[in-house]
Symmetry: C2
Subunit: 677 residues, 2 copies
């Protein structure tokens, strides 16, 4: 039996919550403790007194469950299955297979091995065989240093320029080792990286790139700690930040190396910097999104399906969104009042013959005609809430009317019968003395009279138009007076190319492992609170929609209209975008966002640079590509997105290219994902 280093020197995986396990850990010379940092119930660490080669009694103390959940096996460090020597390669391959077989037998949750260079072809091959042949394979933790000292030493201190180059190379090199290794394993989500921090730290760009990788643990050599005035070991501010960012992404922490201070001090210190981090409770989004990090959800289809009460509950809780709507409605009311006042003045000055012509006459197509309200005078402003749900926008409208002292009539249109019941109850009980009526039905099929001065809707998805707001509002264009106001008046979708092995692997594996499904999963938009990702380049505008929408024109410039006399709009879109790559990376897809002008200057946005503070209603979307593309500094990424429409549905298609490498076209003819009209 060859040797398996289960531990090596004085190494601890610590978690900030772990203070009281320290004393026990201290009693042993060797320990390698695994415990998920986010686990609610912390388990006390177990220690192993000796190498596994020869079992000692204290090894055997570990229960089977400890072996399968708390021990990380370490592959012998001498093993080099990518040696140039055929004999060495073959012998080490036999040794590695023996050690992997031993790990398989022990059932350890993870196997740690070191990567020392770009040559990982044979290693990756052997690990793939290991995965192919194991029913319960362990995670693989690939350990790389943050900087390649070999490359750094290659620098010539006299040539400053070359030095700089070498410096950058030395920081890039270990990422290339890891990334190439992970690519050879097809970005398998069971494979993660362990990063050994160095005393010097690289540029923020390189740190950020590491934050996009699935870092399972970071190693802090005791040598990178300094002693403060009181003699306690502390880290530089930059190191602290990395530790916190990594632990936030669920990395564990290993303190390793010569014991230069009391172990307890390291642990207490790490615990303190974790506690001292910015409180996530201060940001509503952070506390709301907790537990949803990198968790993929399929987008809602509120048009095709009816939302349930839980979903309404979540959306109505947003502390920001309805404030913004209220402000926008108030602004619109003020402007309308002004316009009406001017109009009235002009009308009065001209003649008095146009008085009192409007009768109220609301009719529904297919449901016969019916009076839906009493007559009201000219000063009343009609607000239609299209897709009123359980009424938050009705509330916002009344609030806005109260603030601006405007007389309004609210018509709440809602197609979901359950929501209509709630709305009707509110009309009876909450809004008894308000001028409000509820119209059940699909906004695209209603004909109401009088028409609205303002229509208010909240039909946007995470990527803006992806819940078919354009089609719904264009279909409801007949409900709005000429010159009336739509809130929102425009919205835009955005994308940025991103690197995220974790999101990509999660998307690929999202449902059962059948291959056709796998392809489908990578041709779908995913709603996800993205955390373990890295932006390769800036966020750019994709599609724009405006309301009321303009009709398309024929060759003579004449605007076209449909059979109901509504403007014939074209909500198909296509856009090609290009980005310059600033750093070697691997592109796994796009992050998708939107922003939206409600009215005047009132906006809501989930674009990272302009995100409405505290707004929690939308997570972004992740748009995967089927084959990740390796990109190099200076490359140009070109991506094309199509929004396609037929009589029954809407869908997106996309592809991307870098250099001569083109991805397949994603989702042709909406074969994998579509939104039903």
């Amino acid at each position: 039996m060859s040797q398996l280093d289960i531990s090596c020197g004085l190494e601890y995986i610590t978690t900030p919550d772990l203070q009281n396990c320290l004393s026990e850990a201290l009693r042993c010379n060797y320990a390698f403790i695994v415990s998920p940092i986010v686990h609610p119930r912390f388990r006390r660490p177990q220690c192993i007194n000796s190498r596994v080669g020869g079992f000692t009694r204290s090894d055997m103390i570990l229960s089977p469950q400890d072996w399968t959940s708390r021990i990380v096996a370490k592959v012998s460090s001498y093993i080099n299955v990518d040696s140039d020597s055929l004999v060495v390669k073959q012998r080490h391959e036999d040794c590695l297979n023996e050690e992997l077989g031993y790990c398989r037998g022990l059932g350890v949750p993870a196997i740690m091995l070191s990567i020392h260079g770009r040559q990982t072809n044979n290693l990756a091959r052997i690990l793939q065989t290991y995965y192919e042949t194991s029913h319960h394979p362990s995670l693989i933790w690939a350990c790389v240093p943050m900087v390649c000292n070999r490359t750094l030493r290659g620098s010539n201190p006299e040539d400053n320029n070359k030095n700089c180059d070498n410096d950058e190379k030395a920081w890039n090199e270990p990422w290339n080792w890891w990334s190439g290794f992970h690519e050879r394993l097809e970005w398998d989500k069971r494979v993660g990286v362990v990063l050994e921090l160095s005393a010097d730290l690289p540029s923020q760009d390189i740190v950020k790139r590491w934050l996009g990788e699935p870092v399972k643990a970071i190693i802090l050599p005791t040598s990178i700690f300094h002693n403060n005035k009181k003699g306690y070991p502390v880290l530089s501010r930059a190191h602290q930040q990395i530790v916190v960012s990594m632990v936030e992404r669920e990395a564990q922490v290993i303190v390793s190396g010569a014991r230069r201070s009391n172990i307890e001090f390291y642990l207490q210190y790490l615990y303190r910097i974790w506690k001292r981090r910015p409180n996530p409770a201060d940001d509503p989004m952070l506390s709301y999104a907790r537990g949803w990090e990198d968790y993929l959800q399929t987008p809602l289809q509120p048009l095709a399906d009816n939302l349930d009460t839980h979903t309404y509950n979540v959306f109505e809780k947003d502390p920001v969104k309805y404030d913004q709507y209220q402000k926008a409605i108030a602004q619109a009311l003020i402007n309308l009042q002004k316009a009406k006042a001017i109009e009235k003045l002009e009308a009065y000055n001209k003649s008095k013959k146009d008085e009192a012509v409007d009768g109220v006459n609301v009719s529904e197509i297919g449901q016969g005609e019916g009076k839906v309200g009493e007559s009201h005078n000219d000063d009343t402003i009609t607000i239609m809430v299209l897709g009123a749900g359980r009424g938050p926008l009705v509330r916002a409208s009344f609030n806005a009317a109260d603030i601006t002292s405007t007389k309004i009539k609210v018509i709440a249109v809602e197609k979901n019968p359950c929501a209509v019941v709630v709305l009707a109850a509110q009309v009876r009980e909450v809004w008894r003395d308000r001028d409000v009526i509820v119209i059940p039905g699909d906004m695209r099929q209603l004909k109401l009279s009088p028409k609205a001065d303002i229509i208010v809707s909240e039909l946007l998805g995470s990527w803006g138009d992806n819940e078919l707001s354009p089609e719904c509002l264009d279909g409801a264009a007949g409900l709005l007076k000429a010159g009336g106001i739509s809130i929102p008046c425009s919205y835009r979708s955005y994308v940025a190319p991103i690197s995220s092995p974790r999101l990509w692997a999660a998307a690929r594996a999202a449902s059962s492992g059948v291959t056709p499904q796998k392809e489908k999963n990578l041709e779908t938009l995913w709603v996800v609170y993205m955390q373990n990702k890295h932006d390769i380049a800036d966020t750019k505008l994709v599609f724009t929609f405006e309301h009321p929408a303009k009709a398309i024109q024929d060759q003579e410039g004449q605007e076209l209209s449909d059979y109901r006399g509504l403007p014939l709009t074209d909500n198909r879109r296509s856009t090609s975008l290009t980005w310059k790559v600033e750093q070697d990376n691997v592109m796994h897809g796009f992050g998708g966002y939107f922003d939206c002008s409600l009215y005047g200057s009132e906006m809501i946005s989930i674009v990272p640079s302009t995100h409405s503070p505290g707004m929690i209603s939308w997570f972004p979307v992740f748009i995967p590509i089927k084959t990740p593309l390796r990109v190099q500094k200076g490359d140009v990424i070109k991506a094309t997105f199509w929004r396609c429409v037929d009589s029954r549905r809407v869908w997106y298609e996309w592809n991307a290219e870098v250099g001569g490498h083109i991805t397949a076209l994603h989702n042709p003819n909406g074969r994998s994902s579509e939104m039903l009209l």
Copy 2:
């Protein structure tokens, strides 16, 4: 209804066999005739008098079957769905969809469209939708010129160097259009190219690259014909060669443009150059392989399965292979006689005490022991034919013995019971007066005495060791005397990176369209007579095997042996190869070959540069890669091949990389293809 150009000007698809259809075609002004050139029964062409936009009576004369088998629809040439103008793009997209819908309705076998540049993203997308939405989609024929005149004109005649560059660019450009377009359609085998020949022709390299593409037709403008002395239209020698090479690869020929001569003369001339081409019957391989071009077969597993009589029939017909074996055996007999003579002399000079010790004692493991032959004196040379099949190597041995006047005893070992019956019959009837015995059984499990002076086998597959010759012969090492001869004494496998959309698409689609199968198909070796392919770089050596094989050594340099005392050999291999790319291309996989040293200088080879003339027993193998890799001039292709062995089977794994792009590992743990021991 928008216009569909079914024909355009004076265009004929001609086939050399088509003489008598000419008169009919001449009577019409417009015709576009489709008829497969290799089809046994030629169908007379049909003609259409007018464009399809408005049907005329003569259109309607076409029978439904004519529409579905003989008409190529031509997409309106003005259509540009990749225009920079959004309005043009959207309108043309509508037009194209209308025309495609019309083609779908007509059920034409193919749709021809022109590609004018690299912008084909939207076109490819629309065609993918067309494929997704059609039950019986037509073939797509993408028409490109051989040279890009735009690029050519861009050249500056004063700057010679730049001119040269531009020249090369102009020839490369249309290939890039086509290749990019085909890549966007994921190398769909329903998509082919139509090449319009130019008056000037490019370098051989560029022509060869086109020969690797699925060229469905070539267009010969009448302007590239010259008039010979008698006034008949003729082509330059270079053009003739291209026409013949293309038609050999099943391209059809379209003569197009102004009628400068009697149409019949063009046709007669084309017919003549086709007939004048080198006669395929002169090359046994060409005539043998006819009809098998680019047809994929799974490799045989003669060890796991027993071959049937048809397969033996084919193999025994080889006019070259057994000649080579006979020569090798003769050479070995001569050398053995010489050695024996010297030995005898020495022995005589020393003493006479070693006379007549050998008794004949043949035993079979698991089948009891039994005498299998009478005793014979020292001059007799024992030849064991391992895997004798129906006896061709036994015959070759007797022939060699007769030629060299050697006394031999042949022991024919064969595991296939059917073949043993045939062998036994031959012993009784054909070889009655020969010293020959048949031993049924697996060569790896037999123990025979006396041992052989020579073992002869023919266990090679298309990629050399891929039918497990190394394992069989190592397992039979106990049958050979120390210092005995193995024929073959060594063999080597080779690969070259190749481009072949056709082979790749054929491999992908080899069985039913299920996706898991698709992946499997691209992790398998295919035996195929490759024709529609292009070598990207040279053929290089992969693995070498020698017999008798040397044992592996332990750390002290001691040779190891197995439980039967046979040398413990290691037939695992791994090799990394690199190639420099000389021309932009797309790599779809590898061509695999072998050569084999029988004895002395006698070789057999299917490596293209050293192919044994007239030997037909082996087609090469095609080794696909799952995702084709685009390669650029100057790139380095690196490929790694592993030969893996476990106790029950042998398999290959491979991957390839170009620049930063790495393919997945193919066939990990032999999950998709393996050879059973």
